[in-house]
Symmetry: C4
Subunit: 247 residues, 4 copies
């Protein structure tokens, strides 16, 4: 007979995993309920049932919160931990007020879904992603800095070309930044676009750089993952006695 | 003189391959006919000819179906197999009813086009894709989970920023999800886009993550294909006597 | 004093390269003139000058054509070669008629720009691209087939979801194919997009596959180029005496 | 007590780095101020404060300029250097005139932000990018040439298909080039798109090539970065005594 502590904290036993899945399912359910509640044309009956479901879910979350606090030694180690605060944020609004907006804080509980990945099955893939991220960390920071500079330069440039022709859409550099973001990531909503010849030629060069903005992170991920796989293989070789190389 | 069984089931003889190509061509033809039939401004003559063609094609499919069932031992092995059921679905609606909608089930026969790839010529490429898919399977599942979470968070975020300013376009979290999908994949139809300052700044961060959403699967495919090629080369080396490494 | 033949056919001497560059420049010039001519609000003076320039350029092309025919032995080897026919197509329309449309055939001469790449400087990069293309040829064909099938399935699917709600935009499977093309390549013009709930959910899955449609060719190019570089390095090693590995 | 020269020119001491960060911060601040100034609905108070801040920032830049000129031996080596001219351009407009447009020259100072990357922390990532750029230089030039040719061919093609149906949007080959740019980079603003059947089929083929336009630079970056990492690892091995291979 496992203790409460074992049920909650262990992940490699059957009952511990069952508890984990139940909590994850509850989180997903509460998020679906939260989303349904935002639908504009809900009838009063549906709304009442959602309120009941809301109360039940918050009740279950409260029980889970208290259980975690109970098994933690000392208790405050859980309460002041990151997940402890997140869990508190997810239930507190319900008790304090009926404020609808605050309930969206529950989205924070999505962070707990990441615990899913700590389960055994996906540990290899997760570790590889993590290794790749560490390998490419500096390049990613560098890339983000360069992207921000390029975005700013693109915004200043298009502002000068289009401000007079479209004083509404390109009212300021900040308005132009919106265009730069939508263009460089190749989203292109179509709410703002250049109409002058100069602006279009400028956009051509911006888009050439935009190809780089898409190509570089992809290349980074690809090369980092490739190296992460190689490192993994070398480790395995080192562990297993180097059969592949002992020729 | 090859038997019926040989004609139908073999793929490496000339007559077997000819039979295969004929069936594939018939499938493509039936799909083209199906598409043409949806054209809104067809004259009555064209429509009559399409009906005749339809009857001929279904007749040929029926003959093929019976032939497969005939050569299979026992017969029910084909009838209850996946392709047997698909083949049945493709011809049954014609006999049961003249219902136009049901005929679209024929699209399922597209699955049979995959048999094309079993032909010898593309086996190496197909096997490499398959190896790459197996290598990257866990990462792909992980990536899909992360993408779903990001989509949900993006939808909740934009809902809070834009709901008041655009109560129609961002009526609920589900409406916002549509925006999130079109934005994160950088499609950007332009039917929904943020207009508030907060919503646009939020979109900027969503798009930065969106770059990752494009970069990661590409990187996965690239690194997995690179490794698949290396494994292939190593196998060849192991088979062929390791000339390349025996230095 | 180099002969006419040497000037025209050689590419590694200074005068031969000069002749090459002159012809390339003339081609670019004629294409710019062709583009300028399509401008709707040209004055009569500009139009007259363009006609003069046109005559001069065609005259020079004719001289070049005759020179190539002169130095070729036998003459008909050039005349019936691919480039000979292209060159003829580029000048013939001017002599036969004043037809404006036919002059666009000159765009074919763009093909001659490829000769630029045969120059020494870019031969290494060109050869690497070529190797990569050969390595990935089968995968590219396979990918194109899969993409076509996916496009068709996406078009049939969206037709069923949106046909009733938008009988104009999704009038037939062919109209839906246009949507499928613009969506799967993440262009998203915004002229056609789903508005029903079913159509949007379907679009979500189409876009997930669309990510693959972008990821796979990129991954193919990346892994093929990586292998092309490796093959190149191995060749160099084999030539140079394997310093790097002889440790 | 470090001399003025040491404070300004050194980057690996604490005070030198502090000076560097202060200048970078000032640059970012001046750019933010420049952007805020373009907002259309600023009150007169805000505008006055911006003018004051402008004067202060230019004053500080002037002091920095004089300090650099002071420590440089000889002085003209700084004044006529690239950064010296950039720095001059950033302060001169303020003294010459109150012209608002000229102040945008300050954007040039963004170039100085690149000095940030010379700091120690990111040197490895920067060097790797640089190596990758050198490795892929020829391919990038080749790719850009091919892209320009494809863009031109796409523009000529769509002009012929759509000119009659949409004489406004596809008024000339230059107008069509705008469509080609927005389509091939998959931005798809939605301001111009084909409506004829021929134009749409043509767009399909253009987009297939557009996939390549996205795939090739990504693949280039990925394979070049992969090789840059390998070269780095080999150098490290060569330096460190080849532990990894001496098995």
């Amino acid at each position: 007979m496992p203790s409460l502590k074992q049920v909650i904290e262990q992940r490699d036993t059957r009952i511990g995993r069952g508890f984990d899945y139940a909590v994850q399912g509850l989180i997903v359910l509460s998020l679906v309920a939260f989303s349904v509640e935002t639908l504009p044309d809900l009838g009063p009956v549906a709304r009442r049932w959602l309120n009941v479901g809301e109360a039940v879910i918050v009740g279950l979350f409260t029980i889970e919160y208290l259980a975690w606090a109970w098994v933690a030694t000392p208790t405050r180690r859980y309460i002041f931990s990151f997940y402890g605060l997140v869990d508190l944020c997810a239930i507190l609004p319900f008790y304090l007020t009926a404020g609808i907006d605050l309930r969206s804080v529950r989205a924070l509980r999505l962070l707990r879904l990441f615990r899913l990945f700590k389960l055994v099955r996906y540990s290899a893939a997760m570790r590889r992603f993590h290794t790749a991220l560490l390998l490419a960390k500096e390049e990613i920071v560098l890339f983000l800095c360069l992207t921000l500079i390029l975005l700013f330069l693109a915004a200043v440039g298009i502002y000068h070309f289009e401000h007079e022709a479209q004083p509404e859409a390109f009212a300021s550099v900040f308005h132009s930044l919106w265009w730069a973001v939508a263009t460089m990531t190749t989203v292109g909503y179509g709410d703002v676009y250049p109409i002058t010849v100069g602006g279009r030629v400028f956009t051509f060069f911006v888009l050439l750089m935009g190809l780089g903005v898409i190509a570089v992170p992809t290349g980074l991920v690809a090369s980092a993952l490739t190296q992460a796989r190689r490192l993994e293989a070398e480790e395995k070789n080192a562990d297993g006695g180097d059969e592949a190389r002992r020729d």
